[in-house]
Subunit: 491 residues, 2 copies
């Protein structure tokens, strides 16, 4: 407890209370900038996944908050020693797990500026430029990926939030009055998505009060694409049972295999039954900037809403997930509320009216800075090189005879496994061991999934730091692990 | 369209595609750091609210994304000319609107480090230190505000998201099985909060599928505090009507007046009926660090969940909203899902299991850095000075005889109006005009609300940049405006 009868103590606290002066801030920013440059230059020398056990970092940081201020040098030293050494390095060039992502350098600088100004973009009035830069950057992205002018949108933290927000709009359209009356007493609603879609669709259905059981996991074909005829059967069955279809969520670039649902066929069906069509292109969406990839996005221009994440493949820092929609009315209908204390006389878009969060970071700036400092040609070229690297890696994996592809290669994602005929469980164990061995080496980081009930290794190229040589290295490590851990003859 | 048959064009694009090298990043960070220091040193010379009309910024930024890269110098110059001049300056010392907030310098530096490492804290495994720093910083905050060890928690973007997440947990407890079966077919649920509570409670009820009508706005007393007996009546009425009470949301520091609900009495009632008690202390919560303010928080230690926003009064940058709870089980029960591709063998907290979003920024770092670089004594002292400045301003406002308080002064928030006996509509007009005049001056920025049906001006002190002289200035401006705009005799 601070002793408030002690004048010396009060004085010390009063000194600590004022913010750093310009010189202290300049010195701290200079040190943090040097740390940043050193980190990015040498991250490859660190193991991708750190050698820490649960609780190690917490113990090192101490259990109680400090009463008095520490100089930044000491804080940065502790950060370097205890925190940076306990990170999984998403900006390591060998990070090829999940959907690999990275932070392009201009986005780092943009985040500094965002923090410096510290505005809240909830209303146009609470920071006009923040709202207008966000709308500009979102519209630039729309143009770059070739979506029609009728689409507009805004930036959320994650695709989970964007998809949830779209579901609320779809829910309102399917069950008019849910906003006011809620779901109790109304008809059950259903959401349709493929077996391969992201868990956020399921979570959204749960959060929105539709329940997990409202989710129809539509079966996929051999290439992991939603079967349109299975969708139509599910919808008609529900309608016969008095269940109202609320949303079809198609995916362009699914989480496991990056497969592409047949969006035009799904649009026809959802049109036929008056159902909202949402397209989850969180990972792959930015690749529509490449003319040669554009045909894969056929049909998304007819969706009611689309989500794409610049923080995945485009290289903005977390978090930056763009939701685009053709009509803002159902979004406003589902959630907009303006309390008196936020009423304003400005006839302008107030982004807080779309979505749940009131306070809003100035997320648009990093996307705008990235467009300006890299340009659409540069952004496209990076993705083109990732797609080429992934295709080459897939070809070389198969060439060795040890591995086989577990799914068609789509965008920059490769799903594969070491082949072991006649012993699926042995194959699962072998592949799990191979993945563990490669990841334990610290030079590469891959992830896994399950396809057709089988353990499957995934490699996804999406970092601005990744070069051919990093793929050479992981391919060599995979082959070496497969040989070292060879299960021999199946029992 | 890029011409991909042109080898020179391809080469240029390939150059642009690679990320900045260390020297380019160093130069850009240096320029952005100097811009930051200059901005913070001179922000007081800018008008708090910018002289822009809707659309001005968008027009200046241009309508199409650039194909080629611009040097950072040019981008920064455009940022300065077109964007920084179109901001509402939340870090201006005269910003006294809403709940005034500001970014303390160490938080700016922390955001740079967060962007530099660019990790995703969805699972412990996806960045062990990010999860553990977040847990450490949240626990330090818990200790600093005196909540018992039984509370743990995590960081969301905003209090809206935190309260929504708490409502999902409460919804699951009140209507077991909502997670799986949804709300259709089940009993109607209700949420109780005061007439003065934040709009996010209403939005959460809408988003969660309970509907706006599920919200019971409980009446308040003369000091704008929820009336316990009115709460109990509402609950018993609902029970008699077959409606199930899901959550009571009490507020410590309401949005308009910063009033404080009688939490111990509300806890007794919610215990009696087995209802979840959530405490919204988004604004005021950090003030529990002050021993002399701690009694105002009586009862919150018995809540099921509490939300406090370090990005409001504590000085972290947006976004940093801390949700604390006594039991994580109902949170997991309401939403947790782990898809195969994220299954891991680590026996550790995976923060994505609490809440909707999967991807998670490393928000814990700025809170940890702030504790280290300022210390709890320093953080407390800043809030203490704000409370003293608000009290002094209120006293001087009343002294002049022109203004009267519209609510008891609570924490650092003052609600007031210019007095005009017998003409409430004239008074509303007068006060609206006074506020407009003061805000138009560009030296101060106040907001307004409605209390007892009357237009009310609000002044809230919460920025590390605000000093006594800034309050002198706004008080003088208010008195001058009241005199200049005096409505004379009421009609």
């Amino acid at each position: 407890m601070p002793d408030h009868t002690d004048p010396a103590g009060r004085e010390a606290a009063a000194t600590a209370a004022s913010d750093w002066n310009a010189e202290t801030l300049r010195a701290a920013l200079g040190k943090a900038a040097e740390w940043t440059i050193d980190y990015r230059s040498h991250v490859e020398e660190r193991p991708v996944f750190p050698a820490v056990a649960p609780g190690d970092v917490r113990r090192a940081l101490g259990s109680a908050p400090p009463r008095s201020a520490d100089p930044f040098e000491r804080v940065l030293a502790d950060f370097d020693e205890h925190i940076a050494s306990g990170l999984t390095h998403w900006n390591h060039p060998g990070f090829l797990a999940y959907f690999s992502s990275s932070t392009r350098a201009p986005s780092i600088v943009a985040e500094l500026l965002v923090a410096a100004i510290g505005v809240n973009a909830m209303l146009w009035r609470t920071s006009p430029a923040a709202t207008e830069v966000e709308r500009t950057a979102v519209d630039w992205l729309r143009q770059a990926v070739g979506l029609p002018e009728s689409f507009s949108g805004l930036i959320f933290d994650t695709a989970s939030t964007a998809t949830f927000t779209a579901l609320l709009a779809a829910r309102e359209r399917a069950g008019a009055g849910v906003r006011d009356h809620g779901l109790a007493g109304g008809p059950a609603l259903a959401v349709y998505t493929s077996e391969q879609s992201h868990s956020s669709v399921e979570k959204s259905a749960m959060a929105a009060g539709l329940g997990r059981r409202a989710l129809r996991r539509i079966e996929t074909d051999a290439a992991f694409r939603m079967r349109p005829e299975a969708l139509e059967s599910a919808i008609t069955e529900d309608l016969e049972a008095g269940i109202r279809p609320a949303m079809v969520c198609a995916t362009i670039g699914t989480t496991s295999t990056a497969s592409i649902d047949p969006v035009p066929a799904l649009r026809s069906i959802s049109d036929r039954y008056g159902v909202w069509l949402h397209v989850d292109a969180a990972y792959a969406g930015p690749a529509a900037m490449l003319p040669e990839q554009r045909p894969l996005f056929s049909g998304w221009e007819a969706a009611d809403s689309v989500v794409l994440n610049p923080h995945k493949w485009l290289g903005t820092s977390l978090d930056c997930s763009v939701l685009l929609y053709r009509d803002s009315a159902p979004f406003r209908a589902s959630l907009a509320l303006t309390p008196t204390y936020l009423e304003s006389e400005d006839d302008e878009t107030n982004l807080m009216d779309i979505g749940l969060a009131l306070g809003r970071r100035f997320r648009g700036l990093k996307l705008w800075v990235l467009f300006r400092c890299v340009g659409t040609d540069g952004l496209a070229e990076t993705m083109r090189s990732h797609i080429a690297m992934a295709a080459a890696a897939a070809a070389r994996l198969v060439d060795g005879g040890v591995f086989e592809l577990a799914a068609p290669v789509s965008f920059s994602t490769v799903c594969f496994r070491a082949k072991l005929e006649g012993d699926p469980e042995g194959a699962d164990r072998w592949n799990r061991d191979i993945l563990r061995r490669v990841n334990a080496g610290g030079r590469s980081f891959l992830s896994h999934t399950e396809l057709d009930g089988r353990y499957t290794v995934r490699l996804s190229v999406g970092s601005v730091h990744t070069e051919e040589r990093h793929l050479d290295e992981v391919l060599e490590a995979l082959h070496r692990a497969a040989t070292d851990l060879s299960p021999g003859e199946p029992g």
